[in-house]
């Protein structure tokens, strides 16, 4: 089970694209094996600070006690290259 946390900034163009891309990759590669939380930094700036998120969009993965961050480019290709698919 992969725990994913996606930080976005309201409905900015990149944030919208990030939600769409992350969702698509997860559904096609991790269906049933992930949980995704989308956090809007406008609404919950405190959680972003706790996770030390500086720039948005950022995807945080918790796997095997390790925290992996993907910052900025969350296109399908970039996500797969960063190993989100498997």
């Amino acid at each position: 089970m992969q725990k994913l946390r996606l930080y976005i900034a309201g409905s900015s163009p990149r944030s919208i694209r990030a939600i769409q891309d992350v969702k698509r990759v997860c559904e096609s590669h991790l269906a049933g094996r992930y949980s995704l939380e989308v956090i809007d930094i406008y609404q919950e700036p405190r959680r972003a600070a706790e996770d030390r998120v500086v720039a948005v969009p950022t995807l945080i993965r918790h796997t095997h006690g390790l925290i992996r961050r993907i910052i900025g480019d969350l296109s399908e290709a970039a996500l797969l290259r960063q190993g989100l698919g498997g």
Binding site: G10, S12, P13, A55
Partner: protein, 541 residues
């Protein structure tokens, strides 16, 4: 473009130098990665933690959707500085206030607040400043001075240490209109259901679309959405009164007013109805239907008919009675006259042989016969007082009638030293013979029922309720209160045998005055004179 870091707590609580270097390197990689992403434009918002809390800095284009939302949303939006200066206004607010957005920016929001509502808005703004949010219903006045009811929500906003107020204005006009429409609908329902008359509205096809409670009761059949002719089968003696006729009149913009019709009930009863109909036209000249009013006049008609029958009967019996009284008094006079004549003959021829006693008895008989003759004569006058002369009423100069009456009583007036004061009197729309009878009786009574002092009679007139009120006052013996009504009855005499008369004079007067719609009454105090008053029609001077 990924970074990896171990959880800060380490593996078994023992943080070695190696681990620390490892973690710092990972953080450095993260920071590098963040900077790279920012530089390469992959990021559109940056979060900064300052002493006053986390702040989001949005990069170019990120706030565009919000901007579009605010510009396009139905609500009016303005941002104000703490002095209510307008920093931004969306097109909806500009349209709502009938101004251009450019003209709005830089002007003061308070200009749209009528005096009564500026306090309310100030309170909302204060609530927003204190608690972050305030909302309420405020009347705004647009640039044309028209009132715009609105829900106003004020939110405190702090942008880069600058305090602003974000105000959202929702137009409540339509909602109010809808409420007004609902209220109107309720009102018309209330009116329909409380109206005593049956009210129905029919559409251009003749179907009943509205119907009052009493119309429903009147019909006794299913009314709503049924054809009017089925709900109210009307029968009229002349041309038919049905939906076709009603709608025909309606399309000619004619109204039907108060036509009488009979309606057959399912149980066989009949009702008499008064039917009126008015067309309903739309503003675009389209016939919407017709309002039909049905008044149940069954009871009224029944009462009217009964009253008419009674009146006819009364006229018949009155005329019978008059006929009887007339012939009776007429036929009685001849035998009476004979009794008087023969008694007098008896007196003349046999006075010496019969002696004094018989003479006085015969004298009594003669007197009684004369008295009875007078009675019968008066009775005849009384029965005729109601019968008016056949010709139309000619105006009568009351002054002339009084003059003639005084002439008639001249001898008596001279004899008792009476004084008569007479004001200027009006012309009356009354037969002269009736006015004469009135004054002869009243002046005659005033002379007859005099006290110790010489009679003082005054006659005056004044206008009262569109008629003339004439008073004949004297200083005679007066009438005790108990008799003040009684004296107007037939054969009512107050003062025993002391005064001559049949006791019919005032009854005749009463009858005459009533015939012209007037009234006759007396104001008196025993021993202090009487004042007879009567009202009769006549033109004003």
């Amino acid at each position: 473009v990924a970074t990896m870091s171990q959880t800060p707590s380490g593996q078994n609580g023992q943080i070695t130098e190696q681990d620390r270097i490892h973690e710092l390197l990972a953080r450095l990689a993260e920071a590098d990665e963040t900077i790279r992403a920012i530089y390469s434009g992959e990021v559109d918002a940056v979060l900064v933690n300052s002493s006053t809390g986390a702040r989001v800095y949005t990069l170019e284009g990120a706030d565009h959707p919000y901007r579009v939302m605010v510009e396009q949303m139905h609500e009016g939006t303005v941002t104000l500085d703490p002095n209510h200066l307008i920093l931004y206004a969306n097109p909806q607010f500009a349209a709502l206030m009938k101004m251009s957005a450019e003209a709005l920016t830089g002007s003061n929001f308070d200009r749209f607040l009528p005096p009564g509502d500026s306090n309310l808005f100030a309170a909302l703004a204060e609530a927003a400043a204190l608690h972050g949010y305030g909302s309420g219903e405020v009347n705004l006045a647009d640039a044309g001075g028209d009132t715009v009811p609105a829900r106003v929500s004020v939110t405190r906003l702090e942008v880069a240490e600058v305090q602003t107020l974000c105000v959202i204005v929702s137009d409540l006009r339509e909602q109010r209109r809808n409420e007004a429409v609902v209220k109107e609908e309720q009102l018309s329902r209330l009116i329909l259901d409380q109206a005593g008359e049956g009210i129905v509205v029919i559409d251009p096809q003749g179907a009943v679309v509205r119907c009052s409670a009493s119309a429903r009761n009147l019909s006794g059949r299913p009314v709503l959405l049924n054809h009017f002719d089925n709900a109210f089968p009307l029968q009229t003696p002349g041309s038919p009164l049905n939906t076709r006729r009603i709608l025909c009149a309606a399309s000619a913009r004619e109204r039907i007013r108060g036509r009488e019709a009979t309606m057959l009930h399912p149980d066989g009863r009949h009702s008499s109805l008064l039917v009126s109909a008015s067309p309903l036209w739309s503003e675009s000249n389209q016939l919407l239907g017709c309002v039909v009013t049905l008044t149940d006049i069954t009871e009224r008609k029944r009462a009217e008919e009964a009253q008419m029958r009674q009146a006819e009967e009364l006229v018949r019996s009155n005329s019978d009675l008059r006929q009887f009284a007339y012939s009776a008094s007429h036929d009685l006079r001849e035998p009476l006259r004979q009794i008087a004549v023969f008694s007098e003959l008896l007196q003349k021829r046999y006075q010496d042989t019969l002696g004094d006693d018989a003479g006085s008895l015969i004298q009594h008989t003669v007197d009684a016969a004369h008295r009875m003759e007078q009675l019968v004569k008066d009775l005849l006058t009384y029965t005729q007082a109601a019968d008016s002369p056949q010709e139309a009423v000619e105006p009568t100069d009351t002054n002339e009638v009084v003059r003639q009456t005084l002439e008639l009583y001249a001898a008596e007036i001279a004899q008792c030293g009476a004084r008569v004061d007479c004001e200027r009197l009006p012309v009356l729309d009354v037969h002269e013979v009736h006015v004469t009878q009135l004054f002869q009786n009243l002046i005659g009574n005033a002379l007859k029922y005099r006290g110790e002092a010489p009679p003082l009679i005054s006659i005056g007139a004044e206008r009262a309720d569109g008629m003339w009120k004439i008073a004949v006052a004297d200083n005679g013996i007066g009438i005790p209160p108990d008799y003040q009504v009684q004296i107007f009855g037939l054969f009512q005499r107050l003062h025993g045998g002391g005064k001559s008369g049949s006791g019919i004079g005032l009854a005749i007067c009463q009858k005459i005055v009533q015939r012209y719609g007037g009234r006759l009454w007396v104001e008196s105090e025993a021993g202090r004179g009487s004042r007879f008053l009567f009202t009769l029609p006549g033109p004003n001077y």
